[in-house]
């Protein structure tokens, strides 16, 4: 089991209930798309799986371990197996791309190697390799503050590819990319996960990409699971219902999905 949530409640510090009685599990190597309107609790759910947040109630197992925040060493070891992609790439502006990518393995490298890498990047080839996959080879030695938002998002992705976690959590990983590149990058994440038998769960703004690339779709609404089905069984009615009366109603649901493609597209190798 890659992760398992049993009857999880999560209440934010300000009293807002983000998730109620939520149960979800994923087998190793599964690939799941997480969709739903803004405020449904997608980011909270990913943060819980990523051990960033502690459930208010319920049981959480990640990579076959119950999360123990007091055992710092074990928690660090667990976390080094979890690779996260964020909506806003958390990269310090004045750092070079190569260092930002190599930082993905700080939880794995011995301390001396991490320290030395600040002076001379310890695995330039490794960084160059993952950067070429996200089409940023030429930015290897540039500073992060010279990159565009979309390029930064891809550097964040390169860091995750470099980390090689057994569990990959992606929160709107392609929100800053144009549609063509977005599809290519999702397929890249999927291919990488498949090759390493890693589990991938990604929240997605674009229902199109979710339906065309993923085999399992989880619809989240008001902190609860609306549906959790193989892609073939997801109907347009379900999607309409999922996004109905969304508080940010100014963009219509057709903005999210134009054609519902029931069969996953063949993966480009």
């Amino acid at each position: 089991m890659s992760f398992q949530l049993d009857h999880i409640d999560y209440v934010h510090a300000n009293g807002f209930t983000a998730l109620t009685d939520l149960s979800l599990q994923a087998k190793s190597g599964e690939q799941i798309a997480l969709i739903g309107p803004s405020g449904a609790g997608k980011t909270t759910l990913l943060s819980l799986i990523g051990t960033r947040l502690k459930p208010t109630h319920g049981r959480l197992t990640v990579l076959n371990q119950t999360v123990d925040a007091d055992n710092k060493r074990a928690l660090r070891h667990l976390r080094s197996q979890i690779a996260s992609i964020y909506q806003q790439p958390p990269l310090p502006g004045r750092q070079r791309v190569v260092t930002a990518v190599l930082a993905g393995r700080l939880g794995i490298w011995p301390a001396w190697k991490s320290l030395a890498s600040l002076l001379y990047p310890m695995d330039i080839d490794g960084a160059a390799n993952v950067l070429s996959k996200v089409h940023l080879s030429e930015k290897l030695f540039d500073c992060c503050d010279q990159l565009s938002g979309g390029q930064l998002q891809r550097v964040g992705m390169a860091r995750v590819l470099y980390q090689q976690g057994a569990l990959v959590l992606a929160d709107e990983p392609v929100s800053a990319l144009d549609p063509g590149l977005a599809l290519a990058m999702i397929q890249l994440l999927q291919q990488d996960a498949r090759e390493r038998k890693a589990t991938l769960i990604s929240s997605l703004h674009s229902v199109d990409i979710a339906l065309s690339c993923f085999e399992r779709i989880v619809g989240l609404r008001d902190g609860q699971i609306a549906f959790d089905l193989p892609t073939q069984q997801v109907t347009p009615q379900m999607l309409d219902h999922l996004y109905a009366n969304e508080s940010t109603a100014h963009h219509s649901t057709t903005d999210r999905y134009t054609t519902v493609n029931r069969t996953p597209v063949p993966h480009t190798a």
């Binding site: 976390r79 979890i82 004045r94 700080l106 320290l115 002076l119 080839d125």
Partner: protein
């Protein structure tokens, strides 16, 4: 990906040469500062400092001593206050003279500008040492020294403040035919008053600390008491003086912060209109000044008597001509080099230690420690480090490092707290330890700020390193102190010139650096 296995870091050569340059520079500095951490654990030294520190407990609390301590505390406050009055008497006219406000043409102002450089460039401790020679031991020397140095500082900053506010109202008055002093009073003062008061209060707080330090050369107050206790290795007394001093600094800090806050929050509409609270404050200030003059009972008119002036003239004439023999100049050059070495190494050690402490937890304990480091002046630290590692520049380096660690640690902690948290959390999320996450995700962002703080502190430390030698901690100060003690005023004179030269150099360099960092 044509050259997949041929990646080289383009910065490698630059970083390597930078490292080499640092080593090549630091090595001679280490030698000049006689850097020798082993002196810290030398058994003979340990015995001296151990005995001394052991005697700290319990602090001396006999009634006689407490009365003496109380008197000395009052004297310190009085010296600072009267010194500030003198400083303002010098500073205000000088600021008026050199400021470009309300002028169509500002001449070279060679004389006042030269006077300003002279006043600011010679540390108050040097003035104090000289005045103690003329006037004898006691507070008068401290007051004059404070008045001269702080007069120069006030003049410079007052002029800058006046130049920084909106000039239009004053210029309108000038255009309407108002004389310059009145145009400044009516057009500039209402705009600048808050800042002027705030800076003056801040300087008073500095004067309090300075008056303690000047006691070490015999200029009265708590410092003189501390000096006596140190010379007799009386730990209990030293501890009591130190506790009172720290309390005094703490109170002055709070009072000055409150006063500045108070003047800053007064709305501009009534900035200059006196309300009742202003009246009370002004009255208390007046009482403080009167009481200070009364307490010190120094007959300042005797200062300007014919005989006094004659003595001063005779004393001053001993300084001319300065000793410019090549042997002495070589010694001075080495003194400058040693002073620089002390300042660089002290600042670097402090920056490293400050960063470590800023990252340490629990904060409460660390902050207390940093506050103690910061509140004890460099000169007082030096008297203690001299006991710990013996006379010489290494003691000075340690003293600077201790005080500066307190200052930088606090500033660094603030900078770290203000750094964006997401990049750090992202790395912790991927299993990195807190310290590595800090190095990778926060340091690149805040490094320029930390560097700016460190450089600013280094600038102050150069000036400080030049006088730490007064208690035997190496550098130019030691040369000056020795030549003054041997009454070799011609030699002392050239050391003072060297200090002045160093101060001007630092001024220029820091102005250049500021422009460079802003660009």
């Amino acid at each position: 990906m044509t050259n997949k296995h041929n990646h080289r870091d383009p910065l490698a050569a630059k970083r390597l040469s930078l490292c080499l340059a640092v080593i090549l520079l630091v090595w001679p500095l280490l030698i000049a500062a006689e850097f020798n951490p082993r002196a810290l654990i030398d058994p003979a030294n340990l015995k001296v400092i151990g005995h001394f520190l052991w005697a700290f407990l319990p602090p001396q609390t006999s009634t006689d001593f407490l009365i003496e301590l109380f008197n000395a505390t009052m004297q310190t406050i009085a010296i600072a206050t009267v010194g500030m009055v003198f400083a303002m008497l010098i500073g205000i006219p000088l600021a008026y003279k050199i400021s470009s406000v309300c002028r169509t043409y500002l001449g070279m102002q060679l004389l006042p500008r030269g006077l300003l450089t002279l006043l600011r460039g010679i540390p108050e401790l040097v003035w104090a040492l000289a005045f103690v020679r003329i006037l004898g031991l006691g507070p008068a020397a401290g007051i004059l020294a404070l008045g001269l140095t702080y007069g120069g500082m006030l003049a410079k900053v007052y002029a800058e403040i006046l130049e920084s506010v909106d000039q239009a109202p004053a210029n309108a008055l000038i255009a309407a035919g108002s004389p310059r002093p009145l145009a400044m009073l009516y057009g500039l003062l209402p705009l600048a008053s808050k800042e002027l008061i705030s800076y003056t209060v801040y300087r008073w707080e500095c004067a309090l600390r300075a008056s303690v330090v000047m006691g070490f050369v015999g200029a009265g107050g708590l410092g003189q008491l501390m000096d006596q206790a140190m010379k007799m290795l009386n730990g209990g007394e030293a501890c009591s003086v130190l506790i009172v001093f720290l309390g005094l600094v703490f109170l002055a800090d709070k009072l000055s912060a409150w006063l500045r806050d108070f003047t800053a929050t007064t709305t501009s509409s009534n900035a200059f209109a006196f309300n009742r609270l202003h009246m009370v404050l002004a009255f208390m200030l007046w009482i403080l000044v009167l009481a200070s003059f009364h307490l010190l009972q120094t007959d300042f008119s005797s200062l300007f008597s014919f005989e006094a002036l004659q003595t001063m003239a005779r004393f001053a004439s001993g300084f001319f001509p300065a000793d410019m023999s090549s042997a002495w100049l070589t010694k001075i050059s080495y003194g400058i080099w040693q002073t620089l070495a002390i300042s660089v190494l002290g600042t670097v050690c402090a920056a490293v230690a400050g960063l470590l402490f800023a990252l340490c937890k629990p904060r409460l304990i660390v902050n207390f420690f940093l506050n103690v480091c910061r509140s004890v002046p460099e000169m007082v630290w030096a008297t203690i480090t001299v006991l710990a590692v013996g006379l010489g520049p290494f003691a000075g380096t340690l003293a600077l490092a201790l005080h500066t660690t307190g200052v930088l640690g606090r500033l660094f902690a603030q900078a770290i707290d203000n750094a964006p948290i997401q990049p750090i959390n992202a790395l912790k999320q991927a299993g990195a330890t807190s310290s590595l996450a800090f190095l990778y995700a926060a340091l690149p962002l805040i490094a320029p700020q930390l560097l700016a703080y460190t450089l600013y502190r280094w600038e102050m430390n150069i000036r400080m390193a030049a006088i730490l030698g007064f208690v035997g901690a190496g550098g130019l100060g030691q040369l000056l102190y020795v030549s003054m003690s041997l009454m070799n005023y011609a030699q002392a004179s050239s050391v003072i010139v060297a200090m002045l030269f160093l101060s001007i150099l630092v001024d220029q360099a820091s102005a250049w650096l500021r422009r460079f960092m802003q660009a």
